[in-house]
Amino acid sequence: MTDTAHSNGRTAPPHLAPVEGATARPPRSFQIVPLRGLPVVAVVLAGLVATIASNQLWAIDFFHVVGGGMWTALDLFLGFVIGPILGRLSISARTEFTTRFMPKMVLIMPTLVVCTLAAGWQLARHLGDLDASYSHHGWIVASFIVVAVMAVIALGILEPANIAVLFELKKPEPNGEIIGRLMRRFIFTAAITGAMQVATLVIMTRIATA
């Protein structure tokens, strides 16, 4: 999602001009939070809590590896593959993709993140990696820092922009400049997020083979 901007801001590009003679239309019909996905999220989170409570090593490892793998893959794929492709699509195609895709991400990403972090913490505790005497404890702390940087970007910058873009797109006359300004956040943070995800891969493979 690095490049779905509708405009770059200050002046209105020709492709953002209103359709000749068009008047305000009814808002687009899509759900900002897809309600049908909520039961799935609830089941996954209930499974996570049950896994931690039962302390089964395989299940904890499963939640951490699957959640973390999907989180990293999604971030890199969206930032460096889908994003640039979207940037070359027509405005209408970008808008349609965004209204269908971004609501799903509202549910998927927080679920993946909380599964990865909670299960990862429990896994590290199980294996003794949290203990300061662990020979690779420095890598564990490094992973905390990487996650913290990604969390600030995701929760403080990207997720609010995601929600705000969806609210804007529901208006009868979405403001291209607002959408453009919000979507620029994805472009500016893509490199940082990508670097942090690559760092995560390095750290996790180092720990796994230690």
Binding site: V141, P160, F167, G176
Partner: protein, 159 residues
């Protein structure tokens, strides 16, 4: 999801103001509320990393308490500044804030459960829980503010 109307016009600022309508919400200057709350999130996460790096041993709590106090102060300052913003799309703000708060209370609750389950106790647990509380207030505030600042007063479109 069934009606992504691709012909709906997406307007630029020139088109919006060309007919003498109200100035764009983009041009409105607001206090640095989002910046303050993002800084608070950064302090909360720093405190969390500091404590997590020392567990299961009890680290010196002064740095974590300092980060917590700093983050809490930034959040309070942001709330005070926000309460003085007039006019503001409060309907939209609270619509987003209450659902986001519900989501992040669940997330913070799961993280808190992990700490409690792992026998973290005493002052360390209290600092961690308070850190999660501030965190669970911060994120919905940023989301709701970011959405509401681009809405005209009284507008609550969305679901």
């Amino acid at each position: 999801m069934s009606d992504a109307n691709s012909t709906t016009p997406i307007l630029g600022p020139a088109q919006r103001r060309g007919d003498g309508s109200a100035p764009s919400t983009l041009e409105r200057r607001l206090p640095p509320i989002a910046e303050l709350v993002v800084a608070s999130v950064a302090l909360m996460l720093s405190g969390g990393v500091y404590l997590a790096a020392h567990l299961p041993h009890q680290p010196p709590l002064a740095p974590a308490v300092g980060l917590l106090a700093g983050g809490g102060a930034l959040t309070l300052a942001a709330m005070m500044l926000l309460s003085r913003v007039r006019p503001f799309a409060w309907g939209t703000f609270f619509l987003v804030a209450r659902w986001a708060l519900l989501a992040y209370v669940v997330i913070a609750g799961i993280l808190g459960f992990v700490f409690v389950y792992d026998h973290t106790r005493g002052t360390t647990l209290a600092v961690l829980i308070l850190t999660l509380v501030v965190f669970a207030v911060d994120v919905p505030t940023i989301m709701a503010f970011t959405v509401a600042r681009y809405h005209q007063t009284g507008s609550t479109s969305g679901s």
